[in-house]
Structures are given as C-alpha cells and as structure tokens.
C-alpha cells in the first residue's frame, strides 16, 4: 500500500523532471524555434488580438438578445446598418 502511495507521489516529480530535462537538453535549433514561438504568440495575443481583433459582437453588445437582434437586422435590412 505504502509502495503504491510512494509511486503515486513520485509521478508528478517524474513528469516535472522529464519536461525540465527535455527543455534543458535541447539543441540550438530548438532554442531558435522557441524564441520564434514566443515572439509569434506575443504578436498574436498582445498586439493583434488586443488592438486589431476585438470580438465585434461581444464588444458592441451586452447580451445575446442584443446580438441576435443586431444580426437579424443586418441580415434582413443590410442597407440600414451599412449607411
């Protein structure tokens, strides 16, 4: 019983060691690629998403009822909304 419990307790540490050793022992190209990933994700989430890609309906309307009213208006009377 104690043996099983001991093994269960060591699983998180084994997973942690697996990942940390893996990241530490990466080759040069891996570091370059990780840097690119970080830059890419920063541009995507902290520049593009934040400043250029707000959710149009969520930012303009407070609830689903207002959103559906707006979309129905757009679909049935596009001229009014585009003027």
């Amino acid at each position: 019983m104690n043996n099983i419990l001991y093994k269960l307790l060591t699983v998180p540490k084994a997973i942690w060691d697996f990942y940390s050793q893996g990241f530490r022992n990466q080759s040069k190209w891996s570091h370059q690629v990780w840097l690119l990933i970080v830059i890419k994700l920063f541009i995507m989430f902290f520049v593009l998403k934040l400043f250029f890609f707000p959710n149009f309906l969520n930012t303009k309307y407070n609830n689903d009822q207002e959103r559906s009213d707006y979309v129905i208006d757009q679909l049935t009377n596009p001229k009014k909304s585009l003027e």
Binding site: F18, Q21, G22, S27, W29, V33, F53, L75
Partner: protein, 516 residues
C-alpha cells in the same frame, strides 16, 4: 440587395482571410504527412534495431519539429478573424462551427503537450515501444485534429444536421452524426489528409535527393526515399480515389462549383472532360464566362466521372441558372425562383421578428411557416442577377486543373523513384534527383490550389445557398482590414523566411549531427 453592401470591405476581408488561411496551410500538410513518415521509420527502427533507422527517424523529426513549431497557432488568427471580420457568419452558424473547433483545440492541446514531448524528449528516457506509440499517436492525433476543422468546413459547403432558430438567428445542431458523417465532410477530410501525406512524401524525397546529388548521407537518403516513395504512391493513389468521390458528391450538392472547375457552360448528355484548356482573353474584366481558345477534351469522361454513366446529363452553368432536372429525376429550380424564395425567407424573418416584438403569436407562426418553406434558398435573396451566383470560373478552372495535373505528376514521380531504386540506378539519375528537389514547391502549389478550388469554387457562398460571403462580414472600417492584411503579410512572411532558414541549416547539418 447586393448594392447595399460595401463590396470593398467584403473583398478586403476575403483577401485577408485567404492570405492567413493560405499561409497557415503552408505549415499544416507537412506536419500531417511527415508525422506518419516518421512513425513508419521509427517502426522499422524498433523492428530492426538498425541505428541508421534511428538516425533517419531523428533527422526527419527535427524537420517536423521546426515546421510544427513555426506553424503552431497560425490557425488561431483565423479564429480571431471569425470574431472580428465575420461576426454575422460566426453568429449565424452558432455551435455547429464552434463545437468541432473546440474539440480540435482540446485534442490538439493534449496531443501537443504530451505525446510530442515524449517524441522529442523521450529518447532513452521511455521504453522504445512507448516512444513508438507516442509517435504514432502524434501522427493519428494530428490527422484527427484536422478532421474537426474539415468537418466544420464540410458543413459550410453542404449544411446538414441543423435547424435555423429565428429567435436567435442561429443555426442549431439537431444531429451531430449528420454533421460528422456528411459525405462532403468525409470526402474533404480524406482528400485533404491524403494529399497532405503526398506533399510530405515529395518533401522527403526532394530533401533526400539533395543528399544524393551531394553524395553525402547516401544510405540515409536511400532509406528515406524508399519509405517516402511507397508512402507517397499509396497516398497519391488514395488522393485520386477520394478526389473522384468528391467529384460525384460535388456534382450533386454543389453543381455550380462542379461546372465552374470543369469550365462547363452548357451541360449535355455524354459531357466531355476538358483535360487541358486555355481560356481566351476577351479584354472584358467582368467577363466571367470566357471561351476556350484551346482545349483537349476527352469525350463522355465528365459524365462518367460525375455519375459513372458515359451518357449521363451533367449540368453546366447556364443549365443551373435556368433550372434543370438531374439524372435522378430531381427538379432543380431556376436561380430566379431560388432568388424569389430567398427574398420571401428574408422577409419572413423580418416579419417574425416584428410579430414577436408586438406579441402577435399568429403572425409569428405564419412568418415561421413561410421562413421554413423558403429557408433552403435564404442566401439567394441577396442577389439581383442570377449570374451573381456563379463563382470566378477561370480561377476555379485553372486551380483545379493545376491541382489534378500535379497530382498525376506526383504519382509518376513516386513510380519512377521506386523503379530507379529497384534498378539501383537512382544515384546516377542526376536529372531525376534535380527534378525531385524542384518538385517540393510544386507539391505546395498543388496543395494551395486544392484550397482555391474548394473556397473560390463555392463562391459566392460562405454557407452554401444560405449565406453569401457579402452578408457574412462585420460592419467594420475597411481601413482596419487593410492594415491587418499587410500586418499579416509581414508577420507570416517573416515566419516563413525563418522556417526556411532554420530548416535549410538543419538540412545542411545532416542526419548524423542534427540531433533533437
């Protein structure tokens, strides 16, 4: 009603989406196919215990890793665009589009964070068998991940398994299995993944050929070519089969797309297939239906492809506009009738909303009845001219023919590869090795053309017959769309250059010192 839309906004939104989708698609097919090639190589290593196979597996895993890392999350941009640029569409499709994308996101996250980590960090830390299982799970998982995206796309091409709720203006899924197993979605998935496997095989053969030309890592290169050629040949033959199935499905569910990609203006019984054709330039930019100045036609082939009968009637663009009866006896109304029905459906939705506001229950019921009777052609109500429902023909035609032509060329490439390997003369065929290297960009061109066929060929629809692209866009400032278009162009081009540079560097380093 078409005049009420800002067509400049529609065009820029489309251009932006096309740009991001096509850049995203540069990275995806190599990941999908390479994962299987690596899994096969590692299986051989585990079976034979030959260290060359281990080095081979690790080298291709390195290139897979670079491609995967650069491409990862580029698809998220498309989801940003759905919320910002395509809000009418995103609302209208409701959970049908959201559910498969959510499943894909969860699946991709778990796969990427666990099994890819085992693939790269697990050498000598986990058992050979567990490592191999992880590699196969990455391969299968990445294709399954693609399944959900393609199910969502398949639904847009052939909307099934849902009902429209006029209270919320959203489509609600009423049969998940109809959505998942829609013939459009299934064919699209199988055709897309098999063509991606073909691309990866061409990539492996091309890179390996470079080593053979340089006379370095010869043993590794030959082994890689054998695996890639066999895998590529099987994949490309399967791509032909799934493409053939798609043709039969599209002629029924998207006949206008079929007519456009085949350049068929007037249908006939025993229709011929234009194997090769050049459209004449009429000088008129708005002339969508250009004549052919040159064409090689195979008699009766199109009828056979579409219906497995040499004399079957295949409708052309004009037949679809004027209305026709198909080979199963089903009557397809003229576009003008569909436009009338579409206008009735739009008016009924408006009346329903008004009746609801005034608590007029009877009016609501009548409007709902009218809406349901005409909803099938809801999107036609936005058009004034029946010919507005015709996709850009020359682009669809050329993209389709380039894709098919290159697909046939890859089969020949794989066959020649295997013949030369069998005859042990591959190393001496320098012209062939050079051709194999130059085939890599051709594989990407074929793959992108496939998406142009799928997406341009279905225009003007974002959801077939229900929502035209022009009604799907958000009412935002066109300037912001232009700015983000060029931002994406800049960011993605940078990523692509980075990928190519890192990859070329690793290829020059070679398999013996590449490591992971």
């Amino acid at each position: 009603m078409i005049e009420n839309f800002d067509l400049s906004l529609v065009d820029w939104s489309r251009a932006q989406f096309a740009l991001t989708a096509m850049y995203h698609w540069i990275f995806v097919p190599l990941t999908l196919g390479m994962a299987f090639i690596i899994a096969i190589m590692e299986t051989i290593y585990v079976k034979t215990n030959d260290p060359v196979w281990k080095e081979t597996t690790k080298f291709w895993m390195t290139l897979f890793g670079i491609n995967f890392a650069i491409g990862v999350a580029t698809g998220i941009i498309l989801e940003f665009e759905f919320g910002t640029n395509w809000s009418n569409y995103s609302w209208f499709v409701g959970d049908i589009f959201g559910a498969p994308l959510a499943i894909e996101g969860i699946m991709a996250f778990f796969m990427e964070s666990t099994f890819i980590a085992v693939m790269f960090f697990g050498w000598n830390k986990v058992s050979k068998r567990f490592h191999l299982i992880s590699t196969w799970l990455v391969a299968v998982g990445s294709s399954l991940s693609a399944l959900w995206i393609l199910v969502a796309n398949g639904w847009m091409q052939n909307p099934v398994g849902m009902r429209f709720n006029p209270d919320t203006a959203r489509n609600e899924m009423d049969n998940f299995w109809d959505v998942l197993f829609s013939p459009t979605g299934v064919n699209k998935f199988l055709h897309t993944i098999s063509s991606s496997y073909t691309l990866a095989a061409v990539f492996v053969i091309g890179v390996s050929s470079w080593y053979l030309l340089k006379k370095t890592n010869v043993k590794f290169a030959k082994k890689s070519i054998v695996v890639a050629a066999v895998f590529g040949l099987l994949s490309s033959l399967f791509t032909v089969l799934t493409g053939d199935n798609s043709a039969r499905e599209i002629v029924r569910d998207q006949p206008m797309k079929f007519a456009a990609v085949e350049g068929l203006y007037d249908g006939s019984e025993g229709a011929g297939l234009i194997a090769l054709g050049i459209m004449s330039s009429s000088g008129d930019e708005n002339d969508n239906m250009k004549d052919f100045s040159f064409k090689i036609e195979i008699p009766n082939m199109l009828s056979y492809m579409a219906y497995m009968e040499a004399d079957a009637f295949v409708p052309g663009v004009n037949d679809i506009i004027k209305g026709y009866t198909d080979n199963d006896g089903e009557v397809h109304p003229p576009a003008k009738v569909k436009m009338d029905m579409g206008r009735k459906a739009i008016a009924a939705l408006k009346a329903y909303k008004l009746a609801k506001k005034t608590n007029d229950e009877l009016g609501q019921k009548e409007a709902q009845k009218e809406l349901e009777a005409n909803f099938k052609y809801f999107g036609y109500g936005y058009f004034n001219d029946p010919y507005d429902t015709v996709p850009p023909i020359s682009m669809s035609f050329y993209s389709f023919h380039i894709m098919v032509g290159l697909g046939m060329y890859f089969i020949l490439l794989f066959v020649l590869c295997l013949v030369y390997i069998y005859k042990e003369s591959l190393v001496n065929k320098k012209w062939f090795l050079r051709l194999a290297i130059w085939s890599i960009p051709l594989a990407y061109i074929a793959s992108e053309c496939g998406w142009i066929v799928a997406e341009m060929g279905r225009q003007p629809w974002v959801i077939q017959d229900l929502m035209p692209t022009l009604a799907a866009v958000s009412n935002i400032d066109v300037m912001s769309v232009k700015i983000t278009f060029f931002l994406f162009l800049f960011v993605f081009t940078g990523l692509l250059i980075a990928e190519i540079r890192i990859m070329l560097k690793q290829i020059k380093v070679g398999p013996n010192h590449g490591g992971n």
